[in-house]
């Protein structure tokens, strides 16, 4: 069992927090555990909290981008929260493409947005029920 990643279900989103300097196996575990949790729980999406992450390598960057795409395929939305300036600069150098993945400054804001997403979806549901 790999320590360091916390996958929590919070209301109707998953909250995944990455450690400061994750090694490759932790990074792989991020993907598999997130996708498993997506299947297990009926959630609207994923908040990936990168605020602790200090070092980004190409494998980590690729895995994050891929995981976001996979979550989209499984019907969820991904929010990346709290990326540090130094990590963001590395990400530009690595030419990481985030596609439709949204980013937010802080976990607080991510939770605000996640609240909006689920509210909108429930409104849509009500509408379709009518």
């Amino acid at each position: 069992m790999i320590e360091g990643i916390a996958v929590l279900k919070l209301r109707d989103v998953l909250l995944v927090t990455m450690p400061a300097d994750p090694d490759d196996s932790t990074v792989s575990a991020l993907q598999s555990r997130t996708l498993d949790a997506m299947e297990q729980h009926d959630v609207k999406g994923l908040i990936l909290d990168l605020s602790k992450v200090e070092i980004l390598d190409s494998y980590f960057a690729r895995t994050v981008a891929e995981t976001a795409k996979m979550v989209t395929l499984m019907g969820g939305e991904t929010l990346i929260a709290g990326m540090r300036p130094s990590v963001a600069i590395t990400a530009t150098e690595l030419n990481v493409t985030l596609g439709a993945t949204r980013t937010v400054l802080t976990l607080d804001r991510a939770l605000d947005l996640a609240g909006n997403i689920s509210r909108k979806k429930s409104v849509q549901k009500t509408r379709s029920a009518l």
């Binding site: 963001a88 530009t92 990481v96 400054l105 804001r109």
Partner: protein
Amino acid sequence: MAKEGVGTAEAQTDKQGKLRAESDLDMLRILVDSIMEYAIIMLDTKGNMVSWSPAAERLKGYSAAEVVGKHFSIFSLPEDAASGKTDAELKTAVREGRFEDEGWRVRKDGSKFWANVVITALLDTDGTFKGFGMVTRDLSQRKEAEERIKGQAKEILEMATVIVQVWDGIILVPLIGMLDSERTQQLMERLLQRLTETNSPVALIDITGVPTIDTQTAQHLIETIKAVRYIGSEVVLTGVRPAIAQTLVHLGIDLSGATTRSSLTAGLRVAFEIINIHVAHESAQGAAVGK
């Protein structure tokens, strides 16, 4: 009194310290010795020193006794002597008659100075190769002045990049002058830092003061836009004048990662929308309330 150097044997110093010449050759010698700005040194065919001048002593710190007979490579940086650059200087002078260089040389105390060096191959009337004349000038002051100007230019650029918070959640960067990679890197770091510190979702980058945009400048802007997005904020690019818009399209540059506007006013409006602030005139508000 000890000899000042080879060739000054017949020149005599009187009580006032003035040199008195006894022949034309001495006159020439006195002329060489009186030039303080240029170190004029004679080398034999192998590059060993055969004469030394007071200016050379002042410039390089060695007395005549210490250097006459020694190879001139003692003035070169150790790495230049090792790489064969110093030997190549003489070869060039032999082949082309003259060698000129500007670069670092070393004084006796090991300190470096920025020198202009001219080495000339000396031939006698028969065309026989007799040695070299080497003239060295200390350009350290000019070099320092150049470095200072470069440093100031950089400081001016830094001053030209101001990052200000204009509203709770909105950071404004009015860009003035051209963007190079060093400046972009610095701007990016400062902007990202400021955005995270102030927890601001919007970075307004105004390019009204950027004279023209080339592919490289655009690339730098795109990088900044991306990095801002990674941390969770977004860029609103303002000051896109007609000429800039035309250039961007002709160069095929895709700035779709950012909202772009021609005026800062329009950009500010977009920024307010993003942070969910509604700006209205008091009268309009009153009317709305009245309804």
